[in-house]
């Protein structure tokens, strides 16, 4: 088998906000063409990790290699060059609400390419067709439902034909049917366009449906990396508790039971 090409490499990444350590030495590799899912409980640092991958946050130490470039110390124009090769779908869709659906999708093309308007229009139609929203070009984001916004956000993310797409909680807040539509889209896009996908989520159903490989994060560390089957059969108690959604287990929800009384009477 051919050696897999590494497109994202993260080495010993540390990040803290104030006194809170969010990432405590993360090492990860993402290969070209795969769908890599980062899962973990709320506040385990998975969104923070994602923001390091796209260069929006800078680590305290460690490095991030994105498509062969070390972006840890990239700013401005240098970082923008790398960013043109990636797309990002946001948790809240983050559509520009002063622009129509069509303008949202054509913005990167208009700004970064010298294509004719007619060509851009065709490309926008194609991207919207891919997410099943052709004909919605002239609507404003406020006229769309949550699921449609997610899909427009996705169309915008793939506008520049990126090599990697990052998804931040793609199915959060969607009903089960729309969630599976979005899951199917993620799979389709990575197959049809041969795009590498990095997905951050805690939706277990979605994880098992889309993932080629899964990384489980806990308290800023990678607990385990493996295929969905490997994760399902994991011996790690924490992983088992998480994927089965159990209340009891090594991951405690209430972390400071002992000084509860003290803190009440203080």
């Amino acid at each position: 088998m051919k050696e897999k090409e590494v497109v994202i490499e993260i080495v010993d990444l540390h990040k803290s906000f104030g006194s809170r350590n969010i990432l405590n030495g993360i090492d990860l590799e993402v290969y070209r063409g795969e769908t890599f899912v980062i899962m973990g409980g709320s506040g385990c640092g998975k969104s923070t990790l994602l923001r390091h991958m796209i260069g929006n946050l800078k680590p305290d130490s460690g490095k991030v290699m994105l498509l062969g470039d070390e972006i840890t110390h990239h700013y401005g124009a240098q970082l923008d060059e790398v960013r043109k090769k990636i797309g990002m779908s946001f948790q809240s869709s983050a559509l520009f609400d002063s622009m129509t659906v069509g303008e949202n999708v054509n913005l990167p093309l208009k700004e970064h390419t010298k294509l004719e308007k007619s060509v851009i229009d065709i490309m926008v139609t194609m991207k919207l067709e891919l997410v099943g929203l052709r004909g919605f070009e002239n609507l404003m984001p406020s006229e769309l439902s949550g699921g449609m916004k997610k899909r427009v956000g996705l169309a915008r993310a793939i506008a520049m034909d990126p090599q990697i797409i990052f998804y931040d909680e793609p199915t959060a807040g969607l009903d089960p049917i729309v969630a599976s539509v979005v899951d199917k889209l993620i799979i389709d896009l990575s197959k049809k366009l041969a795009i590498t996908s990095v997905v951050v989520t805690h939706d277990m159903k979605s994880v098992m449906a889309i993932a080629d490989r899964i990384a489980m994060l806990y308290q800023g560390k990678v607990l385990e990396v493996g295929s969905p089957d490997e994760i399902r059969g994991s011996k790690n108690e924490m992983v088992q508790q998480f994927i089965n959604g159990r209340f009891d287990g090594p991951i405690k929800f209430f972390q400071q039971k002992d000084n509860y009384l003290e803190s009440l009477t203080q």
Binding site: N56, R83, F96, P108
Partner: protein, 265 residues
């Protein structure tokens, strides 16, 4: 609880950081305006025009009324005093000079800070908390070039325009009182208005309005882009942008008046 010294210290540090932040944003904006065209990365003309319409054209009505009534009030108040000296005709230059030097630029700036500055802070603040600013960065577009520069250009151009209008309307308001109430001859009123009004009165006023335009644009954009914490954060930013703009407008007015009329420049 923090002790008093700590809170004074942290307030001071916060303030210093904000000042540095605003200056950095200003520098960044100027860089984009000056260097952008050479790199082929200008602010889009469409959005500059849009912002000019919003900041300028749509402020016309409020500026009109504020200036008209300001002019009327100054004329009435000064007439009351000047009548006792038998110098009623000096109502005319009183109105024209105070409008051109002070009231035109300052009132227009205050109105625009309240109407446009707050809208900018709210819009950018909402974009910030709903990840739209981050989305812009991720598609390799600089928020300063894309959002701040058009608003900056629009305010710096439109505020002096509105100020000119305000000066004229204010003088007109004074004229209404002068001609119809104080029975000063129209021709005499106009001659007195403009004979004593020097060019310096006008251009110092316009220079002030350019400075106020910069202040409003920078404060509201900076506050908007620094918004944190959801809907409440947006509300706070909106209020904060108006409060800071008002204080800085009056402060800069004071400094500039001192420079122009109480120093040897």
């Amino acid at each position: 609880m923090k002790n008093p010294i700590e809170s004074v210290g942290s307030t001071f540090i916060g303030l210093t950081n904000s000042v540095i932040g605003v200056l950095a944003l200003f520098f960044n904006t100027i860089c984009w305006i000056v260097l952008g065209p050479f790199r082929g990365k200008m602010a889009s003309r469409q959005s500059v025009v849009w912002q000019m319409v919003f900041a300028g054209v749509q402020s016309l009505i409020i500026v009109f009324f504020i200036s008209l009534f300001t002019g009327i009030v100054i004329a009435m108040q000064s007439a009351y005093q000047l009548k006792q000296l038998g110098a009623i005709v000096y109502v005319a230059p009183m109105v024209s000079i105070s409008m051109a030097r002070e009231l035109g630029p300052v009132f227009t700036a205050l109105v625009v800070a309240g109407r446009v500055g707050s809208a900018i802070a709210a819009e950018l603040g909402t974009m910030k908390v709903s990840e739209q600013i981050e989305a812009l960065e991720t598609i390799a577009l600089d928020p300063v070039r894309f959002l701040v520069v058009p608003r900056f250009i629009a305010l710096v151009i439109m505020l002096p325009c509105l100020t000119i209008l305000s000066d004229i309307i204010g003088i007109l308001g004074g004229l209404i009182v002068g001609v119809f109430n104080l029975q000063i001859n129209l021709y005499r009123y106009l001659t007195f208005s403009f004979d004593l009004l020097t060019l310096k009165d006008i251009y110092t006023g316009l220079f002030k309005s350019v400075v106020f335009g910069i202040v409003i644009a920078m404060v509201s954009c900076y506050v908007g882009l620094e918004t944190r914490g959801g809907a409440e954060g947006v509300g706070k930013s909106t209020t904060l942008s108006v409060v800071i703009s008002f204080i800085l407008i009056v402060l800069f007015d004071c400094i500039l008046t001192g420079l122009f009329y109480f120093s040897n420049i």
